[in-house]
Structures are given as structure tokens and as C-alpha cells.
């Protein structure tokens, strides 16, 4: 789907990719540097797997809807 030169889904991919990388990175950092005040269920390391999931989805959208593929 393309409502312009760049698809809206590409913008969404960029956003998920960036956010996923930042969240997963922060989550991995906390695994090795646990904070003094932990959130509930800290042991699940939600940031790592949630960030990774967003990163993968974002990457897929960036590739699928890349501007050069839409042109």
C-alpha cells in the first residue's frame, strides 16, 4: 500500500526498528547491571524480548516497504 512517495508502513517500520533496538539494548544492559529498584517481574526481562520482537517486525516492514522497492 502506498499513499505517497514513501509508504506509511515504511515510517512505521522505522519507528518500530528504532524503538525495538533501544528497548532491547536497555533491557540487555539491565540484565548485566540490575537496578536497585527493580520493576515487578524483572526476572522475565520483558525489555529484551519485547524490544527484539519490535525490532524484527520493524526490520521486516522497512525491507518490505523500502522506498526503492516502491518506486
Amino acid at each position: 500500500m502506498r499513499e505517497g512517495g514513501i509508504s506509511i508502513w515504511f515510517f512505521i517500520g522505522v519507528s518500530l526498528l528504532l524503538n525495538g533496538a533501544l528497548i532491547a539494548g536497555a533491557g540487555i544492559w539491565e540484565v548485566f547491571n540490575p537496578p536497585a529498584n527493580k520493576v515487578v517481574l524483572f526476572n522475565l526481562h520483558a525489555g529484551v524480548w519485547w524490544g527484539a520482537l519490535l525490532f524484527i517486525i520493524g526490520l521486516a516492514y522497512c525491507v518490505r516497504f523500502a522506498p526503492h522497492r516502491q518506486a
Binding site: G4, L16, L22, I23, E30, V39, F42, A46, G47
Partner: protein, 567 residues
């Protein structure tokens, strides 16, 4: 800001880390970037106000829902779930799904075939200029108030969660929305709404997932709520047999007829804020599919809004109260339940995404109001009543300036919201003032060819005035509640439901009565506007899985199953 609120908001719930700040800032940068990118594609009125009418069903459908995912959906209904239990889900299911399917299958053909640019525009075609003027002015009034609600809610969240000054939050969000809507018009609003929709889910979905893990699943959640509050809090229908048998003080007739019929159908089928997104679809089938796609996600929204509120009842170690009680005794209010749950589960990064989800929700609601206000002001008030024969370029310029003006008016109205104890009830009151009677007028206009210009106008006026009158009556004499809401036990929300129902009935009765004593319109004038005299394209040659009616049935079955699961 009122002194009680200043006391309430004296502390922050969380501290953002550097990575959280980067996520929030990158969101603002992206929405502004999209607006700047689309500026060059919004030169004509059709582009600026209707997004070129080229949106696919998915984009129109997600935008249709996202425009509704404003402050109320995220903060307000999570608070209502904590306060009233699962009954708040009615606003997502019976209070939305039937109406969205009705819009898709019954009303969309008339909106789309008539090629109107707005709901007041349809009233002009069907009932003449006076009805359009009345509808447009009341809509513009309601819209800027709604936008003010969004701003206030966002500023409140930022104050509570991050300790940001309330004025700073209002201005940052309003300037951002003004810039990207003024630059790219409706196309920019729609693009950003789809982005915001995705971020809302990405940022909010983790709360119910982790919450259910913590309590040990749905059945354990119900047990904990029964211990901490009442078992009634987890039943959707079974407690609605009496007014005083449920936390909301409402009877099932109010939910079914007031919310499920009048308010829901009024909002989802005639509120231009949401209908505008569907009108931007590229063809009739996309326009019909868009509300159905929206309905699927609407059914799922309680998972990220209602469930966190219920989880708050189960897991939060403190008891949340009303804002007035907080002002007196300290503590936290119902409205803070979602940020509290966010802070409970989300560490660095996730917290930033959660805050971004909240901001995105508020900005999508605000942008929806502003873009709808801009179109109605420019086409239905300015061009219709003030400056009829200007160039298309002039109206686009007016639209851009009106966007800025609408945001400024909204900033002013944000402070009005602080005078009301409950944001929810305030908005419901507004709906019943304007939306319920408007639904009566539009539905009669579409389905009854005998309805006349005079009938439409006087019915709409009588319905609106009766609603305002009933509201004022109860404010002056609270015992009037037994007449308006059928019970002295009715709470504010129940009152709003019944007031909407009565105002709709008044509108319909007056429209029918006046129409029957006035000259009917010739059928030639009703082509494309009314059922029975409009040729609606059939879809007999389209495969079953591509037909909107098929998917509407699928969604309808899912809707029934969900209601039965939490009966």
C-alpha cells in the same frame, strides 16, 4: 489549574532514563517529519481536506479507530475499569461494534455516493442549508471542547507521571499537532494516526500480558478482584437487572438503548471526527471495509485499556479514589491507574515506549478533532455562510490557518475541563447534547424519503435543545434524575445514557411530525441520498471473502462470543 489538582499532581510517578527520552523525542521528530514530507502533496482542497480520497481500507480503518483512541480511551477508560469494573467494556463492544457495522453496510453507501466532504455537508444535500449550519456550528463547538479534553488529559498524565509542568505539556503537544496537520492536512493526520495506532499497541500491550502473568491468569484475576472489590466487577451483563445491583448504577435498558443504540450509533455513524477518515477511502468497497477493520481492533482495545484497570484492582497495593478524595486525603486517583501499572512493569526503554503510547493516543485524538474542525469550519461555515466564491487555493490557506486557530481555541478550552469532577461524564454529556439528535436526523434522512427540509431542521433543533434542557434540569433540581434517568439511584453515566435516548426520541418525533405536515421533496432531488431512490452497486461478482457483508458477519459472531464469555 485548580488548587486541588495542584495538590494531586505534586509528585511524579516515574523518572525517565536517557533511553526513554530518546524514544519520546524520536516520536515527536517522526510525526513532524511526516507532516513536513506530506506538505508538498497537500496543495488542493481535495488533498488537504479529504486526503485525495485515495486511502486503502486498512489505512482508513486504522485511522478511523485511531482518531477515537484519544485521551479517553487510554486514561479515562482504564480509570473507569478500576472504578466500575468490566462494565466499562460496554463502551467498546455494544457501544461501538453494532454501530460500526451499521455504518459500513447501511450508511456508508449514501455518504460515499453523495460525494459529500462532511456530515454537515450531507445534511445540506438532504435537508438544506439551515440544518447544515446548525449541525456544523454545534459540531465545531463540540470538537474544540473535545480537543481541549485531550490536551488536558495529556498534560495531566505528563504532570503525574513525569512531573512536567501542565502548561509545558499543553503547548508542546498542541504546537506539534498544529504543525503537522497544518502542513499535510488530513493526509498527514491519517498517516500519523496509523503510526500512533501501532505505537499505542506496541507500548500498551505489555501491561496486560505481564499483569496476567503476575496474577496467574484470568480466573485468578477474578478471584483477587472479588476479594479486593466485588465479584460484580467482572460481570458484563448479569448485574444489570437492577439499577443498584452494579457499580455503575445503570440498568440494561440504558446500556442497550441509550449507549448501544443512540449514543453509539450517533457517535460512530455521524461524528465527523471518525467518519471523515472513512470518506477518504479510495472506493466504496474500501469505505465499507474500513469500519469493519476498525471494529475488529475496537473489540480488542479492552485488552490494553480495560484489563489494566482491572489488574490495578487486583495487584496495586494502594486504593485509588476520586480526585476530590485525593485532594483531601492524598494518595492517587482513578485516573492514575494506567501510569501506575506502566511504572509497575516497565523499565528503561519500555517506559519510554509506554509514555510515547500515551502521548500518541492523546495526539491522535487531538489531531482528529482539529482536522475535522478545520474541514467543517472551512467548508460548512466559512464557505457556506461567510465567503462563498473564493478560489480552492484560498480555502486551503484558510484550512491551514484554521488548524492553528482551532488548536489555540482548544488550548483555551482545556482549562474548562478542570471544572468537572469526571472527564468521562463531561464527554458523555457533550455527546448527548449534539450527537444523539444528529443521529436521529441523519438516519431518517437516509432511510425515510418522506422526511422534509423543515422536518430535519426542527427535529435536530428540538432534540439538541431538549438534551441541554434535561441536563440543566438535573443540575438545578437533582431529584429530576428519577424522571430523566428513570431512577434516583442513577449515576452520571446512566443519566447521560437516558438523556441521549430521550433527545433522540424527541428529534425523531419532531422530524416525523413536521415532515408529515410539510411538502414532500421530489424524488429526483433525493437520488444518491436516500434509501429506495439510490442505486447502490451490488457485489455479486466479488468473491465471498472480499465482501464487506461477509466480514461484518464474522465480526458480529466474534462480538457475540466475547459478550457471552464475560456475561
Amino acid at each position: 489549574m485548580t488548587p486541588p489538582l495542584a495538590i494531586l499532581l505534586s509528585d511524579r510517578l516515574v523518572h525517565l532514563s536517557a533511553v526513554d527520552v530518546v524514544i519520546v523525542v524520536s516520536y515527536f521528530a517522526l510525526v513532524l517529519g511526516i507532516g513536513a514530507y506530506l506538505e508538498g502533496r497537500s496543495k488542493t482542497g481535495e488533498d488537504f481536506f479529504m486526503a485525495g480520497r485515495e486511502m486503502t481500507a486498512w489505512v482508513a480503518g486504522l485511522s478511523f479507530l485511531s482518531a477515537n483512541l484519544g485521551a479517553l480511551e487510554l486514561m479515562g477508560w482504564a480509570a473507569s475499569a478500576y472504578q466500575y469494573g468490566i462494565l466499562a467494556t460496554h463502551w467498546y463492544w455494544i457501544g461501538a461494534i453494532p454501530a460500526m457495522l451499521f455504518l459500513a453496510l447501511v450508511m456508508m453507501p449514501f455518504y460515499y455516493i453523495s460525494k459529500t466532504h462532511s456530515v454537515p455537508g450531507y445534511l445540506k444535500l438532504r435537508f438544506g442549508e439551515p440544518s447544515r449550519a446548525l449541525s456544523a456550528i454545534s459540531f465545531a463547538f463540540m470538537t474544540v471542547l473535545m480537543s481541549g479534553i485531550n490536551m488536558y488529559s495529556m498534560a495531566l498524565v505528563m504532570k503525574v507521571v513525569l512531573g512536567w509542568p501542565i502548561h509545558f505539556s499543553i503547548w508542546i503537544s498542541s504546537i506539534t499537532v498544529a504543525v503537522y496537520v497544518a502542513l499535510g492536512g488530513l493526509r498527514s493526520a491519517i498517516f500519523n494516526e496509523v503510526l500512533q495506532f501501532v505505537l499505542i499497541w506496541a507500548g500498551a500491550l505489555l501491561i496486560p500480558i505481564l499483569g496476567l502473568i503476575e496474577v496467574g491468569g484470568w480466573n485468578h484475576l477474578k478471584l483477587r478482584i472479588a476479594q479486593n472489590a466485588s465479584a460484580e466487577y467482572t460481570h458484563l451483563w448479569s448485574t444489570l437487572g437492577t439499577f443498584d445491583g452494579n457499580p455503575m448504577g445503570i440498568h440494561w435498558t440504558g446500556i442497550v438503548f441509550g449507549l448501544g443504540f443512540v449514543i453509539s450509533f450517533g457517535y460512530w455513524t455521524t461524528d465527523f471526527l471518525v467518519v471523515q477518515r472513512v470518506l477518504a477511502a479510495r472506493d466504496l468497497r474500501s469505505a465499507k471495509m474500513a469500519p469493519i477493520i476498525g471494529a475488529v481492533f475496537k473489540m480488542l482495545v479492552p485488552f490494553i485499556v480495560i484489563l489494566p484497570g482491572l489488574l490495578g484492582l487486583a495487584v496495586l497495593p494502594l486504593k485509588l479514589t476520586g480526585e476530590s478524595a485525593v485532594a483531601t486525603n492524598g494518595g492517587h486517583s482513578f485516573n492514575e491507574v494506567l501510569p501506575l501499572m506502566l511504572a509497575r512493569y516497565c523499565g528503561p526503554g519500555l517506559l519510554g515506549l509506554g509514555i510515547t503510547a500515551l502521548i500518541a493516543g492523546f495526539m491522535s485524538g487531538m489531531a482528529g478533532n482539529v482536522s475535522a474542525f478545520t474541514t467543517v469550519w472551512t467548508y460548512d461555515i466559512y464557505r457556506a455562510l461567510i465567503h462563498k466564491d473564493a478560489s480552492d487555493r484560498h480555502y486551503v490557506a484558510m484550512g491551514r490557518w484554521c488548524t492553528v486557530l482551532g488548536v489555540l481555541i482548544s488550548v483555551g478550552t482545556a482549562y474548562l475541563v478542570m471544572q468537572f469532577a469526571s472527564i468521562m461524564d463531561y464527554v458523555q454529556a457533550l455527546f448527548s447534547f449534539f450527537i444523539a439528535p444528529l443521529f436521529g436526523t441523519v438516519i431518517l434522512g437516509m432511510l425515510w424519503k418522506r422526511a422534509t427540509h423543515a422536518g430535519g431542521f426542527w427535529g435536530l433543533l428540538a432534540g439538541t435543545l431538549s438534551s441541554v434542557g434535561m441536563w440543566a434540569w438535573v443540575r438545578v433540581d437533582h431529584s429530576a434524575l428519577r424522571y430523566v434517568a428513570l431512577s434516583p439511584h442513577a449515576r452520571d453515566m446512566a443519566e447521560n445514557m437516558y438523556r441521549a435516548l430521550w433527545s433522540w426520541i424527541v428529534c425523531v418525533v419532531v422530524t416525523v411530525a413536521v415532515s408529515l405536515v410539510t411538502q414532500p421533496q421530489p424524488e429526483s432531488e433525493l437520488n444518491g441520498l436516500v434509501y429506495g431512490v439510490t442505486a447502490i452497486p451490488h457485489e455479486a461478482e466479488v468473491p465471498l471473502y472480499q465482501r464487506p457483508a461477509f466480514w461484518a458477519v464474522v465480526v458480529g459472531v466474534g462480538f457475540v462470543i466475547l459478550n457471552l464469555l464475560v456475561w
